[in-house]
Each structure stands twice: as structure tokens, then as C-alpha cells.
Symmetry: C2
Subunit: 494 residues, 2 copies
């Protein structure tokens, strides 16, 4: 496909100057409009080596208010970056609403490189492009404008540019052995790029091919592409949507109702089991660290369902240098300026570490759904988005598990009253807890739907029978210990 | 000094359980009080290898609400961390108001290690402790509670613990060659620690020595120390302070008045000089990158003084992958929850990169002083704090320069009116600009004091005569080019 493109396009200096000045004013204006309309923008520069990505970024940002953009030069992953799930690098760099992130190479870099070096199986390639597509879809669904530019020059032009760089003492260091090799194997490398363009040219995040032989021609085309994309985004009317929880209060036979809440341990049984399990967990935590296995544990459940107590019995056995508990409350102002998954992605653990979320991203399909904090389309697509995220985490080597702490309505009332009566625990109970309790049946329906749609082999839900705290805590400990043991046994088999 | 300490102290299990339960309730309560009083807390664990820092942190956090603390395990600097000024690692980890950061070894680690290995000159040691002391002073002046714990065991106990770890297949990896060597050279290592304790035991951030042979005894002592420190902080009445800008409006002979605002270039002179200087700057930017020299440029000046235009002429010549412009506005909610220097520290560039601040930390002694956004004591001590920060940046190898864009009052009026008349520039001018203008004379006095107190050899102020934009832009370009050239010449001499 690329060979059909006319790389001889040129533009005269005088014409260029006039044009670019007009476009600059226009672009500056559009940036301000996007800022006040809170539209976030990502501009991706990919393309051949020496096609002038740096130069073109330099030209583009001249028109932009520096208060509104950031440039990210994406290089080969550092050792530190390798310790995290791959897409975390990019989730941490998405702009807040109204801002612009510019990428000098991007999430495409790794797959291009490894594909060219034949380090990926067909399955892995398919998976990598699927992950990229999900990433771009999730963001554009959240009003992100993604502009992807592919800068294209031919083999001779590339060689000429390398030679020019290599000729000067000051720029020689910029041309590496890899560069020369990719020029020699230009056709093979181009094919890898063509595959990328074909697989990821979507209606929500399309590619624009920029003929980059002539820098002036390229700059004008880039300006025009960005301006066009922003104009379209600004004009676009949001499709009508509503905040409808779509739930009836009618009780049905359900997963939650099947939980046997009579399960219980005596204090003695509890103490004995706890001691043994915690000792084993301490040992296993060291193993996770040594084997560099990350672990992500999510806790959800009814208010006063025993999340805190269960988490405490876990952390008592963990080395504080190797885990962190992330309590999730309503998003703060800064978090609200981003995609709802952003604040969780940035907290995902490094290899060998454990992150425990006390409440999770599932708030999207529970409280946000029921209270109308997000729209119907938003919570409807969230199941898939959350499954995607967890699958990516699991693919990156993490053990991912989610616990639902189940109690019945009477037990909740008992615990609320107990908290109110105890001066040391009063702070734990608020009017909001009582208000939420009134919506018990609505929540129950939402939880049911959530459990069904998001319990996956790579990130299962575990329903914890919680009326008896002892039983619940032991079940959590046992489940975690068991999961780590299984994983380690698998690793040993390899 | 340490040899005088009684390491045989012990506590029975039953007594411990009773005591620690009481202390836990107390500590949990105090954490909540500190949270609502917005008091930030840092707890530092230092001490000998195998003295049980991890275990003790694990015990301490059992009493804390996980929503309110974070544990940082400080290891040897990674390659990535080495690219930044040393203290940036810790500035980025200070807790927001009301939260707790716990450090498993800390900013003391590096100096202890290098001191023991005889890698530091006496001067460097003195400088390192000075930097640490400034850091702790600045934070405690901002209401931070810093609790420093030194866990102490004797040589035999340490050896015993290493042997126990080394005996088990699962913990063997935790004992390194360095550990054994430090045990052999226990006395020498202890001396280094004693020096540290002596040099950094201040009234605002004192050390507590924890006899750590018996874990129960140590845990109780740590709980009590933390509780005592928090109780003291909660009870402490803030000393009376006021928001007094302390400025009279009377004009005096001044640095600013001496600036020759008639200096000017014609458009032709400007274009010619600009072209030459930008070409050289592009080359020098590559040199900075290769030599890994970071550069920090701060811009301050009157509204409409030409900061934006000057910055633009710089960045036109820079590779966008190697610089970033940080626009500084009033701090947002998140920034307000931290020390005022925090938001600048987190933006400090990596080696080989340039950070340009469009307005800077000097807002503290200008707008914050004049408008009463900070207290008299706060702006008074800010000069020293800012000098300290810049000196640390300079010591870490950065070129640090600050530009004051000077215009006169008539020129400002002319520019304001021009902006209002031009539809493309109207957005640049607000009512606030006109209001600030009314306080011109007050600002002038504050700026004078700032220039005098904070122009240092390691971070000079450059006054840019700005009535003629051409002249101003060339002066900024020339000064930057000149500074880089000088630095590179120095490096070549080495």
C-alpha cells in the first residue's frame, strides 16, 4: 500500500511561510477551544527512522500554548519500566481533559521492533494489536481525540539522511547500527509498518500518512490533519445518553442468595487457622518477590461487610516493603479530569509486589451506575473495559483476584448499630452508610450483573460468606495462599 | 555514645500484648486527629542491618488506617534515579497534609554508605548533612512532623540474625556479601552512624534510639515515640503570625530603575542575530544531551513583559524531546496540600534535559507576599529556602538561571491596550492584569528585595531590558548560549 504514495510532493518556502502562519493562528485558537471544552488530545508520531518526527513535533508545538501540552519521547523500555504491565507506561501519560499529549513514537514502538526482529508469534502480534485497539477505543469513547501520524520517506532518502548525520562530528552519535540495518532491510521493515497501519487504522483512531521527503510539505499536512481532527471534535454533538441504572428492585434467585451465610468458625478454630495461614503467607510473599510475580487483590462488598478486617489479616503477614493498600473513595478533582480507569492504572504494582485495592474500579458499575454519576453507555461498556484491563494485568504475569464480601441485611444493621455504640468505631459510620442501605435491593441487582459479567478465568470473583467474621477472614487468607501456591507450582513445572 | 546504651531491655509477651493493644487504639485515634488537623507526618526508620526495620514497620502500620499512609522502601539509587538531583527522590515522596509517609531507610542511606566506603571527602560529608538538615528544616517549618528512629543491635546479635537468615533456604538470598562485611567491620560502621546521629539530631527533627534486641520492647518504644510526637504536634499552638507584605510604596534608587530600557535592535538586526543564535543553540542542546548536563531556566517579569515571546524564541531552537516548558499558575488543590516547593521539585529535569519555568517558585516572595497568601514568616524564610534549592540543583550539575523581564509602566499599558484591541490576543489579558498593575510600586519593592537576596553565583538573576522585544529576546538567547558554551568549555578543561 505505501509504495503507491507519491513521495515527491514539495512546497516552496514563500508559500509555506504564508500557509503555516495562517494555520498556526487557527491551531492556537482550536487548542484554547478544546481546553475550555475539556477535550483531551493525543497526537502520535510514528514512522520511519530519520523521517523527521522530532523536527515536525518542534514545528507543531510552536503553535501551541505550553501550558496545554506535554511531549513524551518514548524509548526502549528501561529496566524499571519492564517491571510494570506494558500499557501502564501509556496510561500514566494520557492527558487530563483539555490538554494535549504528544508522543514521539508510542505504544506501537515495542510491537514494531519485536515484529521486525521476529521475536513475536502470530498470536502475540494479534494480542498486542488487540490491546492497542482496546486502549484507543476506551480513550476515544471517553472523548479523547487520537491523531496518529505516520511519517514516510523512501529507502534512498533515509540513507541520505543517515549519511548526512553520520558525516558530522556532532550528530554522528545519533545514527546507530540498528538504524543502518533497518535501512538495508528497508522493505522488510516497511512491511511490518504496513501491517501495523492495516491492523490499527480504525474509525475512532485513524492513521494519516505524511509524505515526509519535503519538510515543509509534511509540516503543512500535519497542521492540517491536526486542525481538521480538532475541528471535527469541537463540532461533534455528543450522542444523546441518559443516566439510567436500569434495575428493578424485584428479588430473583441469585448468586448472592446462594451464599451460605451460616458458615462459621469458633474463635479457637480461627486463631489456629489464622496463625498457620499467616505463617505460610509470609513465606509465600518472599517467594513472590524472588520470582517477581505481581499480585493484585480487589475488595468489594457491602458496607460493614468486613473488607477492612480481612485486609488487615492479610497485611499482618506481609512485609510492608512489598505491598501497598489503596483505599478507593470518590474520585478527587484531579482524578475526575481523567478516564475513570486512569487512577487505578497508575497504582498497578511492580513485579514482585502486591497491591490491595480497598474498593476498586467496580464502583463504575455499582455506585456510579445507581447514583447516576455516569451515563448508561458508560457503565454498559465498563464491564468489557474492566475485563480488558484485568486480562492485560494477568497477561503481564500478575495474579489478579477480586473478593466480594457478602453479608445479609440484618447482619449489616447489627454491625452499623454496634459501630455507633462504640466510641472507638463511631468514625467508621456515616449518614451515607444508612442512605446506601436503603438501596440494598438495587445494589444487589447491580452486583449480580457485575459478578456474572466480570468473573473471568484470568481474574475471578470470590464470594466470601461474611456473616461470621472469622470464617470470612480465613476464607480470604486461604484463597490468597492457595492462588500463590498454585502459581508457584506452575512456575516450577516450567 | 551508642555503647552506653543498654541493649538487654526486654518485655514479656503478656505485658506486651496488653500494652500494644492500648497503644494501637491511641495511635489510630491520633492519626485521625492529625488527618483532620491536616498535619503531615514522616516516620524514618534507620539503623543497623538486620535490626528489624521491616518487622517494626509491619507492626506499626497495623494501627494505622491504610487510607492515610504509604511505606517507601528506599534502595540504592537506580540508574534512572541517578539522572535526577538527589533530593528529588524524597521531595516526591513527602506526604500531603494530613497523611503519613514511612521510610524504610531514607535520605540518610546514601551518605552512610559512601561514608563507610570512604567515597566522600570531609567537604562532601559536611555538604550532604547540610542538605539533609535544610530539607528537614523546611518541611518542619511547614508543620511536618518528622520522627526519626534509629534501630540499634550489637555486633553479636547482628551476626546471629544473619546466620539465622542464611541458614534457611528461603531467606538466604537476603544476606549479601556487603552485610557480612559490615558485620565484620561493625565498629567502623557504627562510628559512621554515630557521626550521622550527632550531626543531624536537631530540635525540629530529633533522633530516637531504639534498643532493638527484643522486638517487643522495640515495638512498644516505637509506638510510644510516635504517639508522643503526634500528641505534641496536635497540642502545639501555632505561634502568632501575620500576613504583612512590609513594603512601602516610596520609590528609591534601584536595580530595576538602572536598567537601560532604551536598548533596542531593528528588525533586521534581530532577524540576523536570532538566526545565528538559534543555530548555535540547536547545536548546544545536542551537546548538553550528550554530556548529560541538565538546565533550569526560570522566567519572571511584569505582566506583558515578554516572557512568552522570549521562551518561544528559545524553544524554536530546541529539540522537543529534550525540553519542557512548565507554566506556573496559582497552585491547584492538590498542590496546595504540599510544601510550596514540592510542585517545582517534582518537575526538575533529568540530566541532559532542559526545564523552562514560565513563572517560578519566586511567586512566594512576590504575589503571595503582597496578596497575603502566605504569612510574614513564610515569605521571610523563603529566600533562603529557594537559594538552598537552587544550590542543590547546581551542585547536582545543573545550569540554573533566572530571567527578570523588565519593562516600564507605560510600555505595559501600551501592550495591554494592544492585546485588548487584537481579537487573536484578547484571551491573554484579564481584569486581574489591570488590578495587578495598580500595585506596580509594591511589586517593584518586592522584586528589588528578591533580586538582591536571591541572585547567587550558582543561580544568577539576569535582568532583561524588555521595552524593545527584539532586544529582549536576543539578550535571553545570548545569555543562554553563553552559559552553555562556558560550561562546555569548563568540562573540556577537566
Amino acid at each position: 500500500m505505501l509504495e503507491k504514495i507519491d513521495l515527491s510532493k514539495k512546497m516552496k518556502k514563500a508559500e509555506y511561510k504564508e500557509e503555516i502562519n495562517k494555520l498556526s493562528v487557527k491551531l492556537g485558537e482550536l487548542q484554547r477551544i478544546c481546553q475550555s471544552a475539556k477535550i483531551p488530545v493525543m497526537i502520535v508520531f510514528e514512522g520511519l527512522d530519520a523521517s523527521g518526527k522530532g523536527v515536525q513535533i518542534g514545528k507543531l508545538i510552536q503553535a501551541l500554548d505550553p501550558r496545554g501540552f506535554e511531549v513524551f519521547a518514548v524509548k526502549k523500555e528501561t529496566e524499571e519500566e519492564k517491571y510494570y504491565p506494558y500499557m501502564k507506561r501509556f496510561w500514566t501519560k494520557i492527558p487530563e481533559h483539555g490538554k494535549v499529549s504528544i508522543f514521539d513514537t508510542s505504544w506501537y514502538r515495542k510491537v514494531l521492533g519485536e515484529r521486525f526482529e521476529n521475536q513475536m508469534s502470530a498470536d502475540e502480534v494479534a494480542r498486542a494489536y488487540h490491546v492497542i485497539q482496546s486502549f484507543e477505543k476506551e480513550l476515544t469513547d471517553d472523548r479523547m481525540v487520537i491523531i496518529k501520524l505516520f511519517l514516510y520517506i523512501d529507502k534512498r532518502e533515509q540513507r541520505k539522511r543517515f549519511e548526512k548525520l553520520a558525516d558530522s562530528k556532532e550528530t554522528k552519535w545519533r545514527v546507530t547500527g540498528d538504524d543502518w540495518r533497518r535501512n538495508e532491510e528497508y522493505d522488510a521493515y516497511l512491511k511490518v509498518n504496513e501491517e501495523m497501519l492495516a491492523k490499527t487504522d480504525t474509525d475512532f483512531a485513524p492513521w494519516t500518512i505524511v509524505e515526509a521527503t519535503d519538510k515543509r510539505y509534511a509540516a503543512v499536512k500535519i497542521y492540517k490533519t491536526v486542525i481538521h481532527a480538532l475541528e471535527t471534535a469541537v463540532k461533534k454533538q455528543p450522542e444523546p445518553d441518559e443516566t439510567a441504572p436500569e434495575l428493578d428492585e424485584k428479588k430473583t434467585e441469585s448468586v448472592l442468595n446462594k451464599a451460605d451465610l451460616s458458615l462459621a468458625y469458633t474463635k479457637e478454630e480461627y486463631e489456629k487457622k489464622k496463625k498457620k495461614l499467616q505463617k505460610e503467607l509470609t513465606r509465600l510473599h518472599g517467594e513472590l518477590y524472588r520470582r517477581r510475580i505481581p499480585m493484585i487483590l480487589g475488595f468489594e462488598g457491602w458496607d460493614a461487610g468486613g473488607k477492612g478486617g480481612a485486609i488487615k489479616r492479610l497485611t499482618q503477614a506481609l512485609d510492608p516493603r512489598g505491598y501497598v493498600v489503596i483505599p478507593t473513595a470518590a474520585p478527587n478533582d484531579w482524578e475526575k479530569k481523567h478516564h475513570y480507569l486512569w487512577r487505578f492504572w497508575v497504582k498497578m504494582p511492580k513485579k514482585g509486589h502486591i497491591t490491595i485495592f480497598d474498593r476498586t474500579w467496580y464502583g463504575r458499575v455499582m455506585v456510579e451506575r445507581i447514583e447516576g454519576f455516569c451515563t448508561k453507555r458508560e457503565w454498559k461498556r465498563a464491564y468489557k473495559e474492566m475485563n480488558e484491563m484485568e486480562e492485560q494485568l494477568s497477561d503481564s504475569g500478575a495474579i489478579v483476584m477480586k473478593f466480594w464480601m457478602q453479608i445479609d441485611k440484618d447482619e449489616q444493621e447489627r454491625r452499623f448499630k454496634e459501630r455507633q455504640a462504640n466510641p472507638e468505631k463511631q468514625w467508621k459510620i456515616t449518614d451515607e452508610d444508612w442512605r446506601n442501605r436503603e438501596k440494598w435491593d438495587l445494589y444487589e441487582r447491580a452486583v449480580e450483573e457485575m459478578l456474572v459479567k466480570t468473573s473471568t478465568p484470568s481474574a475471578p470473583w470470590i464470594i466470601v460468606e461474611g456473616n461470621n467474621k472469622y470464617y470470612a477472614r480465613i476464607k480470604v487468607l486461604e484463597t490468597v495462599v492457595d492462588a500463590i501456591q498454585k502459581r508457584i507450582a506452575q512456575e516450577k513445572e516450567k
